[in-house]
Amino acid sequence: MDPKAFVLGCSALAAGICTLSGLGSGLGQGIAAGKAAEAVGRQPEARGAVMSTMLVGAAVAETCSVYGLIIALILLMANPLVSML
């Protein structure tokens, strides 16, 4: 088998697996949004503060899935493994 093709195929597979990092942050953001909805339901006058806190928290939770995305992009577009052959 051509070693380059094997490395490229495995890299594509790895990039697909990297997107699974969205799983955790998706769960976390869902929980955060649910809790924020509860908080707004209990205390509707604090809507603005709850919303901005939730958005900042959700964006911070998103960071780890963004790291996964960046690793996937590196594997697809600037693969460091091919040059090692």
Binding site: S52, L55, V56, A59, V60, E62, T63, V66, Y67, L69, I70, L73, M77
Partner: protein, 229 residues
């Protein structure tokens, strides 16, 4: 198909390194031009401002007041002076993210831009921390116990990295997904269908990421400069 930052022309050569005119550079200049133009317009109108605001003056006053109240509520009275810096950072990131709407490649979809922004936040965090707290700034690294020093150091170093990668990853994801949809659709359908994606990735996520970068920078600076007390 490539979503890389294309080199358009050679700018100059220095010590054997070629510096290219990239798409990011062009769109950064466009964003800078738009912001400078806006600033000049406001400056010219400023001499015509009256005590009782009307029309254009109302809009400018609302913008400035909202942002200065926001700075005050996030960072406290003592650090209100940081407001001016954060207005410009917020405006630059917002205009950069929205430049995707007029067909430019957003400058924030390039790691160089976001790393520069995160680095200036990093310098401000530690500069204001050292200036305002002196000895207690050093002590923070050894709290609650001296053995936590490496963990605290790693935490400080990861702040600018996560700030830079969050903005970069979000904007690049938008560029790639919208670009893929444009490639997929036939020419006749390219005018209406991707609007939904632009509304989410450029307008919503762009504003949200600009807001988050500003709020997180404010919180980090406030933590170091004021502390828990």
């Amino acid at each position: 198909m490539s979503f890389a930052n294309d080199n358009l022309a050679v700018l100059f050569e220095w010590n054997g390194t070629t510096v290219y005119l990239t798409q990011t550079l062009v769109s950064t200049w466009v964003v800078m031009g738009a912001l400078i133009l806006l600033a000049i317009v406001v400056r010219v109108w400023l001499s015509r401002f009256k005590n009782v605001p009307k029309g254009f003056q109302n809009i400018i006053e609302i913008l400035v007041e909202t942002m200065s109240n926001f700075t005050k509520s996030t960072m406290g009275e003592k650090l209100e002076g940081f407001g001016g810096y954060f207005y410009s950072i917020f405006a630059f990131i917002l205009f950069s993210n929205y430049s995707g709407l007029v067909g430019l490649r957003p400058p924030t979809a390039d790691l160089a831009t976001t790393a520069a922004l995160a680095l200036s936040t990093f310098l401000l965090i530690h500069g204001s921390g050292i200036y305002m707290r002196r000895g207690r700034y050093i002590k923070d690294y050894f709290s609650p116990y001296p053995i936590f020093f490496p963990i605290n150091l790693m935490g400080e170093l990861s702040k600018p990295i996560s700030l830079a990668f969050r903005l970069f990853g979000n904007m690049l994801a938008g560029v790639i997904i919208v670009g893929l949809v444009y490639q997929m659709l036939p020419l006749a359908l390219r005018f209406v269908l991707p609007d939904v994606l632009h509304a989410y990735f450029d307008i919503f996520a762009g504003a949200l990421q600009a807001f988050i970068f500003t709020v997180l920078s404010m919180t980090f600076i406030q933590q170091k400069a004021i502390g828990d007390s």
